[in-house]
Symmetry: C2
Subunit: 213 residues, 2 copies
Amino acid sequence: MKTFEIITESDARTIDRGATVALASGGHVTPLARDTLAERRITVVPADSFDASLPADLAPTADIRRVAIGNDHTGIAMKTAILQHLRGKGIAVQDLGTATTEPVDYPDIAALVARTVARGEADAGIVIDGSGIGSAIAANKIHGIRAAMCTDETIARYSREHNGANVMTLGSTLLPGNDAAIRIVDTWLGTAMREARYIRRLLKVRRLEQNPE
Amino acid sequence: MKTFEIITESDARTIDRGATVALASGGHVTPLARDTLAERRITVVPADSFDASLPADLAPTADIRRVAIGNDHTGIAMKTAILQHLRGKGIAVQDLGTATTEPVDYPDIAALVARTVARGEADAGIVIDGSGIGSAIAANKIHGIRAAMCTDETIARYSREHNGANVMTLGSTLLPGNDAAIRIVDTWLGTAMREARYIRRLLKVRRLEQNPE
């Protein structure tokens, strides 16, 4: 992939239609070039942020349209609030329960959500239990899942950008309320993993799944 | 196992030496009985907190004497502070690196610590990376490991009591400092998992390791 320090309008006309090129750190795209790049459907990525040798399915889906959500008996109200919020934004949400206050075990709920994401039936998963700790442990046991307990928006953002999380867990009894939970969910869903230096490390996580002893 | 509402001194004399008995919720042990129980090495556990059908190795070691610790390039200062603190308390600490600011990948460090704990070469593990998120994901890929990102003392305590965490991860750039990290570590190491209703769920986590698809 060709790397540019600056992309001018005449550069933009020489790049193949639909190609991806890299822009060096501190590099610049002229305003006129920007229009030409868009018209020619050329993608510009920061240099060192794309590595063609990495499997295309390594980083999680950036554009999340289908979410699987599950909760234990402590998380019904929070689940309902998040579900309504996401459906209101046009995201398809698969509700995997539980719907009653009858106690359920977090490994069961976490595995249900994690397997739905691992099979590609959802782009991302959300699991709610009392603290979010146990569901993160359980979900990470499923191959292809990178689950992060998100206690605030910073952790939510990092877990996507740096760690490619495809499942988030929330603590129904530890978070200050449903509004806070929704803000954390929105931050998480709205953050993509783009940098090759981070994506590369997911290969090492995947290798651990093949050598779990 | 016999369950008592009250244990008197004469009860204590009738219980087999070295036996374990249960005390009902709200139950009482008389002061005299307490001495006799101790002398006869009888263990009293809260009712419903012990289930003989659960594997003995399911809950993590309560009395942590050997700790494995590892860190990425961002966590050297925090690792050193924790290590000195724990050694000062008489805990054996195995330092698995890294020792330099040369970048290392969190899955490598997390796997090193996790495998040391899984093999029984340490009672518990501590992994430090920038946020603690990635190391928790990676460590949980190792069979027998329950890794929790500990952002504060509450999470640290819950992760042991409720989820039987045997690895904790810390964020070098997110925690307010080394003193905060040490408080979180002390809370985590000092909390045991005792309740059967929580321990039972670890069986389900273990089963996910055998069915990770």
